[in-house]
Symmetry: C3
């Protein structure tokens, strides 16, 4: 592997770790789960989005299921949350930061994989968003919460933006490598700005405030 | 495409639109979702059943995921519900009607696809019902409601009836085209009769009224 | 089929029956479902784990979906619960016993299938646990409960133990047939001991008792 691949793999594993820690901490915060639950929910958060993507494009078994490094990273992240628990809450800003790294990378990687499998631009964007947000969605469903991505914060929108830019970059004659990094960076910055200023996706215009 | 195919495609897209509008309106009624949530839940309602069917028979990527017309129709239906919201409630009877069209068509189409992929009669009937009721089931799970199809109204039963008739028609030497239309019509009528007279599938005989 | 295959098939169908009865009874106990709901939830409990396994390893359509004997057994189990309902509660210990048979067999069979499809040891263990616990997990999600396997009793751990032993047995030069039976038996005994002494998987060390 050249250094570019090593850098990408490292970032991808870092995103996986952050997703697992974050997912497991969310599980611990909202549900009385045991070690099986924490491990399951952390791994589902980290790997679930890629699993759905790979099922939809018939790339089975899923890439991150076959590669033990992803399974190990996701398991380690979940167990960190299990054993350190509340002590990790102090690290929440750092974990949010790595989670945003994961969001950005997963969106770009998912979109690239869709395009590589011959899907159209819209389908590839959807796959990118599913890769980024699918795992957290399944986790929320499993702990009986309405998936956060459906009603709060800016999460799918930065991912969709990075996915859309990735499609534009690949379909133009621009050199991919530097430009998709910029697409990922834009997603990352928008996600961090959204967290900092507590931004949310638009609510329906006729939304009844009292419900 | 001959006129028969155009007519079928038009009806199928009409059903998809109705499923999306209905799905998005259900989401708005029961959960405080934002634009990402409405779009996701409308599209899941419209396309989710076909996705599960295509995963089970290994026809991937799912047909309606590859065909942009279905994605566009489902997205438009969801956004209509988002922007018009309560004003659409007046149209509920019309939307229910188109939803019943979708139910009938999806049940027949799903069953035909199962048979075309060499599945047995029972498996094809199950696929027809999943195609018709699967999307709404996932939507309900995502907004934290017990799926309506599991406990109220007549929804799966008309679909199963149309699916069963479709199997009989294909396995006999009857000409398919006119007869599966009749199978779909029977499902449609039973569904509308069920809505009108508030009919429900049987509850367990020992059902405790107080629980 | 030789007698060994007949014995294995019989046990597998017995496990399927127990899973369906148990799943349908759980549905009746916690949700006001109708006959469609009981049938769906019983069948999902009995067959869902194997479906996820077969999706992940791209062995589609799922084995137990193609084989009418599994569909029939699962449907019969669900309908037994529907019609007999509370009268089956007296049989709960017997049903728990057969459920533990199912758990043990499904864990071993799922792991063997993973290995046969060329997956690594860890992946095969995960598949074994998913085969055993996946159906009940989907059922719980559908009736709006946090999946039992994530927070209570010993369920995934006996399954993981049997799955791990199965991997060791296959990867060593030991004769499979007698030894995987012992792996299944260990899972069975641990599950029954867990029920009898009300054992649970470890909770997080910093678990707040009041939440």
């Amino acid at each position: 592997m050249d250094s570019g691949h090593v850098a990408l793999l490292s970032l991808d594993l870092l995103g996986t770790l952050a997703f697992a820690v974050n997912g497991a901490m969310t599980a611990l915060r909202y549900a009385r789960v045991d070690i099986v639950g924490v491990l399951t929910l952390g791994m589902v958060t980290a790997l679930g989005g890629g699993f759905i993507r790979d099922i939809l494009i018939d790339s089975l078994p899923p890439t991150t299921f076959q590669d033990w490094r992803y399974l190990l990273t996701a398991a380690v992240g979940s167990l960190l949350a299990f054993f350190l628990g509340p002590r990790l809450e102090r690290l929440a800003p750092t974990i949010n930061l790595f989670d945003a790294v994961g969001l950005s990378l997963f969106a770009v990687i998912g979109t690239l994989k869709g395009l590589a499998f011959g899907l159209g631009p819209v389908q590839s964007i959807i796959l990118g968003v599913i890769t980024a947000a699918g795992g957290g969605t399944i986790r929320d469903i499993m702990i009986q919460r309405i998936p956060a991505v459906l009603h709060t914060e800016l999460y799918a929108i930065p991912a969709a933006l990075a996915a859309g830019l990735t499609v534009l970059i690949v379909e133009s004659s621009m050199p991919s490598v530097p430009w998709v990094v910029i697409a990922a960076l834009i997603c990352f910055v928008l996600r961090m700005v959204g967290i900092h200023f507590d931004l949310h996706a638009p609510k329906p215009p006729h939304f009844r405030k009292d419900t």
